[in-house]
Subunit: 348 residues, 2 copies
Amino acid sequence: MSPPPPPRKRRATITTVAEAAGVAPSTVSRAFSNPGRVNHVTREHVLEVAARLGYSPDPTARALGTGRTGTVALVVPDITNPYFAGVVKGAERAAAEARLTLVIGDSQESPAQEERLVERLGRAVDGFVIMASRMPDEALRRAAELNPLVLVNRAVPGLTSVVADFASGTRQIVTHLASHGHRSFVFLGGPAESWSGAQRWIGLRTAAEELGLSATRFGPYTPTMASGPAAADALLTSGATAVVAHNDVLAIGVLRRLEERGVRVPEQLSVVGFDDIFGADFCHPPLTTLAERTTEAGGRAVETLAALTRPGAVPASPEAPPAPVRVLPTQLVVRHSSGPAPRREVTP
Amino acid sequence: MSPPPPPRKRRATITTVAEAAGVAPSTVSRAFSNPGRVNHVTREHVLEVAARLGYSPDPTARALGTGRTGTVALVVPDITNPYFAGVVKGAERAAAEARLTLVIGDSQESPAQEERLVERLGRAVDGFVIMASRMPDEALRRAAELNPLVLVNRAVPGLTSVVADFASGTRQIVTHLASHGHRSFVFLGGPAESWSGAQRWIGLRTAAEELGLSATRFGPYTPTMASGPAAADALLTSGATAVVAHNDVLAIGVLRRLEERGVRVPEQLSVVGFDDIFGADFCHPPLTTLAERTTEAGGRAVETLAALTRPGAVPASPEAPPAPVRVLPTQLVVRHSSGPAPRREVTP
DNA sequence: ATGAAAGCGCTAACAT
DNA sequence: ATGTTAGCGCTTTCAT
């Protein structure tokens, strides 16, 4: 009944290798981390012995001395959300290029869990890229004092970040709707802690005002498909002709519910999402949505982080210049979930 | 132009705290990791000082001594594949229950990258759960000698694992097809290194034989939507009436291509997938697919791992009993992508 | 109950 | 070019 005990082997250490090779531990160390400062032939020899013993340097022990681990962490609010796939891919590519190991942490949409993760991983990694952080500004600033850190889709004064151009994106959405004769729309809001959610709403409202539409916010809703029915039902009582959802998974959940309830999209109701996730192009009908350059965002974020963690970088400087925030373009992908506003019954 | 230097703060160490609290470092250590072996009031005091200084023990340094880090790694072949979402969720729940931190590594479908990851993370975590490993048996065995390790959807003699019941699952699929009058089907194979891919094909072929159908394998195909067109086109030339794809994302890719080419599903062709991923229920038509208990698999895997990594566990025992493999049931979810075989032109 | 000291695996001066 | 030594932050005997 007890788990089987596969025999565990003791790993070779630098001392083991040193003895077996007849050299000092420091020579072994150099052979691995400072080639060029050791004779070529002894290096060969050491490496060979090490290989035979199955030795490889312990990054943990190394880190204790140097403070550098060669690992960076990407933390996301919900790895289950296909939205983050692009960020992960981009981050992986950039990490590989910078010869960094990437680990992923999932905060499960919980600010507390996110803090715990950052706290816990802080000593084990060289830095963080935090995607769509739910942590309060203050906590983020504190974290940034302990570890290099770059934010994606979250801006905090003083911290470096890469964000999508929501101002432009939301304007594209509202313009699209207006051009189809919609006079108003409702926004299905996401989590209260979501910075990008806030940006989306601000942008939407501003654009609506400029274009003379009226905008109403519903929610907040958890951005999962399971929230679709509640959101859709709320929507239906409002008589809206168009709806913009916090993100695509919520939008798809809404779409499903509308279909269940016999509401035709886009004939009776237009729906627009954010993110252009896996599935947005094959749901029914295919979803009009604002696409971000997530892969690029992930890549740029770890590139920036890599620069921040490179040896020479970042001695404590009291008078730091404002951290740069890099803005990435967004693009509205028009599919079939949005179209002309339904005609009103007008008495002639 | 250079990245902004946010001033970095030095973390408090056990010594800092000891001095500030007027006790020895060992007392601080005990206050954190061995309460009960320190006077209650001094403990309170130490903890308070530590909090004031923002101190928390460095898991890395701790690991150097104890060999335990409180972290486990989940490695997956492609975090981008929605299939893994369930495993991740289950693993997270179980990790939280066992008070373990979970990090995720993505091997990007590369056996080499997977090995590198395991090698690199080996010292930084207490153990691994490796999902759908692409590594050769031998490499896996070697890894298991260095770290506790449990496999998901991969069986290697001697190693502990949790796997889906593909024998039953594939029989369900073939029975479903046979009951609809299909006399043959083609299997769109996945990556050559995929153990579960192999199991799927073996099961399919066996069941087909028993039920008197004929089965043909195509591929291998990369299990992404991008492979859909090639797979679908190959399929079309074969005149098959039914197709079983390596997984859902490939199946959905095929579905899209078929729609493009005007092939009606399921009237002209039935398609079945594996995994029941996000999207399988809202693609067009909704996909018939074999559902696994991925969340349970992820949960059980880290539970098992947690048991394996618990202090007392697993001293090197030479004569280990065969490791248990736990089999989880599978269930065919019939949706609208599969149905009766098209009638053949039969001359009477 | 607490302190002192050794050591975990490695790197980085400092010697030689 | 290589060996010696002193830590890195923590846990853990062993004393007291």
